[in-house]
């Protein structure tokens, strides 16, 4: 259910009125979305959702209580605020709590491509029909998800009448193509306009890669030089962000990067920026406190320059907020951009005498948090490279690798790369993406 800016303003004003004189901040998300899921080469699940999520955070006397609800009617919101007002006196004090920041100027950002925003299931169905047909012609089994949605998010608080408001339409597609002899390939796309999804070339590329991956062979576990393609790089960087670049674990000393700001811990070719306002892809102009977002250099020439803070942790640890409070998912970089190198992807492969090319990883998890050790499994296109050429596809391999050490020695980075979308969301539609090139690393540990 899309509320629209005026309705959102009304809701925020009402909540402020109900909460007065207590300080209050309000965060609102709404969505209307379609999601079509394919499996075994057919359209199998087809869903539509209308939803609203209103977060109310009431402050007073070094205390805070919060609630979220999808009941947006005035009388229900009034009752919810009354509940918070009754609860607040019983909440314990938090000496680290500071009042939310004042929103200094309003933001109104809208990008609603008509072809996506009309949310016509037939539009999505046509794309799926082409994709399924291309795969069928090559005896390939398809599974995946095509979704489109319109979302709104807004932040307001009782320190000013300014409102941060963003309304965007977006679409995304992820697919796995599989052959009956264990070949598979992976594709992902996301954008503001469904029209930009060239489903013919997307499908043809996946068919080609899937056929190349047929009949994978076993190879011995061990340490190998690797080429990590964009998707695989993105998988590792997402974990590096969660583990190392968020404030709580960093400040508590449980992160592999704790105490290392200003130190060179990665290869000097490694440069990473969090850029949530790069308008070529998904963007977020303000964080959930209503603080304006801007690019943040995380790693420069291998030196850890910054980590992410939200308003709360910045106050607690006497740092400056970098506006990284997400809408319910903690504090971490959501829009990572890795600086590309100068070598083409083809040259990267040609320059590798013997090693493994990894398309993506599956089910990564943390094995040792403080050390930064991750484990996971290769998936959907792993190849042995010998003398600069793909020799044969390789069966799944499990890696157990220290992610900080992995990027501490980089042989080369490709000039080409792509936006890798993060499209799996559990509560509320929230697409993000990371721009990643391909990396050639001298050593990566495959443990089984």
């Amino acid at each position: 259910m899309l509320l629209g800016k005026e309705k959102i303003q009304d809701i925020i004003q009402n909540i402020k009125k109900y909460a007065a004189p207590d300080p209050v901040e309000i965060r609102i998300q709404s969505e209307r979305s379609l999601l079509m899921r394919m499996s075994s080469s057919q359209l199998h699940q087809n869903t539509r959702e209308d939803n609203v999520l209103i977060h109310i955070l009431l402050y007073g006397d070094q205390k805070k209580v919060a609630l979220s609800t999808n009941h947006w009617e005035a009388h229900k919101l009034k009752a919810e605020v009354e509940y918070l007002k009754k609860t607040l006196p019983f909440a314990p004090k938090d000496k680290d709590l500071s009042l939310f920041p004042q929103i200094k100027s309003s933001i109104d950002f809208r990008k609603l491509c008509d072809d996506t925003a009309r949310l016509d299931p037939a539009d999505l169905g046509k794309k799926i029909e082409i994709l399924l047909e291309k795969a069928k012609n090559n005896q390939i089994i398809v599974a995946g998800v095509l979704s489109a949605g319109v979302t709104e998010c807004a932040v307001g608080n009782s320190l000013s009448d300014h409102l941060c408001y963003q309304s965007t339409a977006d679409a995304s597609l992820t697919t796995v193509f599989e052959t009956d002899d264990d070949g598979s390939s992976w594709g992902s796309w996301a954008g503001s306009s469904l029209h930009d999804l060239d489903i013919n070339s997307y499908s043809e590329n996946l068919v080609k890669r899937c056929l190349l991956a047929k009949k994978p062979q076993d190879i011995k576990a061990g340490s190998y030089p690797v080429i990590l393609e964009s998707e695989a790089t993105s998988d590792l960087l997402m974990f590096l962000g969660w583990l190392g670049l968020q404030p709580k674990s960093f400040e508590e000393g449980t992160s592999p990067l704790s105490g290392k700001v200003g130190k060179k811990i990665f290869d000097e070719k490694f440069n990473v920026v969090d850029d949530p306002v790069d308008e070529t892809e998904f963007y977020q102009h303000f964080d959930a406190y209503g603080e304006k977002k801007k690019p943040l250099t995380l790693i420069e020439n291998g030196i850890l320059k910054n980590i992410c803070y939200n308003h709360y942790y910045a106050h607690k640890y006497k740092k400056k907020s970098t506006a990284h409070e997400t809408f319910g998912w903690g504090v971490y970089p959501t829009h990572v951009h890795v600086r590309p190198g100068t070598t083409s992807h083809e040259e990267l492969i040609k320059s590798l005498e013997r090693g493994i090319l990894v398309t993506r990883f599956h089910y990564i998890n943390v094995s040792n948090r403080k050390a930064g050790v991750l484990t996971g499994v290769t998936k959907d296109g792993t190849f042995l490279i010998e003398n600069g050429k793909i020799k044969h596809p390789v069966r799944k391999l499990r890696f157990t690798q220290n992610v900080v050490e992995a990027f501490s020695k980089i042989d080369d980075i490709s000039s080409d790369g792509r936006y890798v979308p993060e499209t799996s969301f559990y509560q509320g539609r929230y697409l993000t993406s990371q721009w990643c090139p391909n990396f050639r690393l001298p050593a990566f540990n495959f443990s089984s």
Binding site: N46, T47, H71, T87, P92, A143, E252, S367, R398
Partner: protein, 481 residues
């Protein structure tokens, strides 16, 4: 209009559109959580949400639409959307879905709740968390603590076009509490209770009280301290004994997920993955050692996966999945059970009103063995004992797994010896289960509630439970990280 009338309207409207089948589900959630970090209550949250999901089967294809609105006009619009979605799906479906007839289901389920957690004063909850923090930091090596206390009240009302009308309502209570010992070089965690989001049960505040957590704080803090001084787990192939909390995770990842029949038929291939199991293995495949019996049971009173009916309206049941090591059955829904000619065993559950139901583990349990834990230990000459899950990863077909624990002890001549930190073990599912050489008896069998099992697109967090006793496996690859 009350919720049942709205559901009737929705189902009646959909059947008027010529669908083969329709159901409508009203779900409401009321939740409260407290987050404490290092003794400071950082968040006190309340969540309320509700809505209606409408599912239709038209020309053999599903359509689903969900709306938060409880207004008749908006619900009819959701019904129209569900029908429109099914119309788009039908020509792109290869196999027509055929739900086999089932008897009309009616009834209600509610969980036990002696003390309504929503009526327990906030100060009592805060006092408990503060008391735990206070006890733990008496040990000077404990520098960090993290706690999560969570309660929910859920009401789910289901109606379908075959005349079924069922209601599930329950209360959930759970607590997770971790202590971290820290020195200049290392941080080591020990959970007082509830790895993976709290050991949740469908019970009230009394469940939190019964666990008597304060009395365990000193031991847990001492264990975290000991881990700081401990060597890393050695790398070798050896016998392992896994505590029941780790066995719950082992059952979840390497038995529960691979036996989800929707996954076996490929419906999760683009996200959670497939399964190494196929339907032809039923009745013949040696999944585990003959001493292993694993059961689907969503009827154990007040456990997290327990329900009266699933979201197909099928009554909860107890079904053997693995008997004497041989695969007997899968976790099924009406749609997928029909594909293999079996009745559903009531595992089709949606996380809320805005999600399509998918096959869930509900309750999957390793049945107890016939030897006491003490005897199991005494009869182990050489090996490693591991407790409390810390890390988990498994491949997309659920074969190659690697799990890590918080706590390990050397086993030497039937006795627990040296403490090891950062223990991990790795295996291949059927080989691992076939190497099981002992399962402790009912005395050490307990059920663990896991509230955050991820599956589906858009994502759904399932609430499941697993009963297990400690179990022994031989020739397992172990190592430290």
């Amino acid at each position: 209009m009350n919720e049942e009338k709205l559901l009737e309207k929705a189902v009646s409207f959909c059947t008027g559109q010529g669908v083969e089948y329709a159901d409508a589900r009203f779900v409401s959630w009321e939740e409260e959580s407290l987050v404490q970090s290092n003794g400071v209550i950082e968040n006190i949250n309340r969540n309320t949400n509700s809505g209606i999901g409408v599912r239709v089967l038209l020309k053999g294809a599903w359509g689903f639409a969900a709306t938060l609105s409880q207004d008749e006009k908006n619900i009819i619009q959701a019904c129209e959307s569900a029908v429109a979605m099914a119309q788009v799906s039908a020509p792109l479906s290869l196999h027509s879905i055929d739900l086999k007839k089932m008897p009309k289901a009616t009834g209600t389920y509610s969980s036990r709740r002696d003390k309504d957690p929503f009526k327990v004063p906030l100060s009592e909850k805060v006092d408990l968390l503060n008391a735990l923090h206070g006890e733990l930091i008496k040990n000077k090596t404990i520098k960090l603590t993290d706690a999560y206390l969570h309660f929910a009240k859920v009401n789910k009302h289901f109606l379908n076009s075959e005349g079924s009308c069922v209601q599930n309502s329950w209360t959930e209570s759970g607590i997770e509490y971790a202590a971290k010992a820290q020195n200049e070089k290392d941080t080591q965690s020990r959970h007082l209770i509830g790895w993976h989001g709290g050991n949740v049960k469908k019970r009230g505040w009394e469940w939190i009280e019964e666990q008597n957590l304060v009395s365990q704080a000193e031991r847990v803090a001492a264990e975290a301290e000991a881990l700081l001084k401990a060597p890393s787990c050695p790398t070798k192939k050896t016998t392992v004994i896994l505590h029941s909390s780790q066995m719950a995770l082992q059952v979840h990842e390497s038995v529960g997920h691979p036996l989800e029949l929707d996954r076996i038929f490929g419906s999760e291939a683009s996200y959670a993955g497939r399964s190494f199991v196929n339907p032809d293995m039923r009745g013949t495949f040696q999944y585990a050692a003959p001493i292993v019996n694993i059961t689907l049971d969503s009827t154990i009173p007040n456990e997290l996966g327990t329900c009266g009916f699933d979201d197909d309206g099928v009554p909860a049941q107890r079904v053997p999945l693995i008997k004497k090591g041989i695969l007997q059955n899968f976790l099924t829904s009406r749609e997928y059970a029909a594909k293999i000619g079996l009745p559903s065993n009531a595992c089709n559950i949606a996380s809320s009103w805005n999600r399509l139901p998918v096959i869930r583990m509900t309750g999957v349990h390793l049945e107890p063995g016939d030897i006491s834990f003490e005897k199991l230990l005494e009869s182990t000459e050489d090996g490693i004992y591991m407790e409390t899950n810390k890390s988990w990863s498994i491949d997309d077909v659920r074969l190659n797994f690697q799990f890590g624990c918080e706590w390990a002890r050397e086993i030497k001549n039937g006795k627990l010896g040296k403490i090891y930190k950062n223990p991990n073990y790795q295996g291949i599912t059927p080989e691992f289960w076939k190497s099981c050489t002992g399962i402790a008896d009912k005395k050490s069998w307990r059920v663990w509630g896991i509230p955050n099992c991820g599956k589906g697109e858009p994502g759904q967090t399932g609430r499941v439970c697993h009963g297990a006793s400690p179990a022994r496996f031989q020739n397992v690859a172990v190592f430290g990280t």
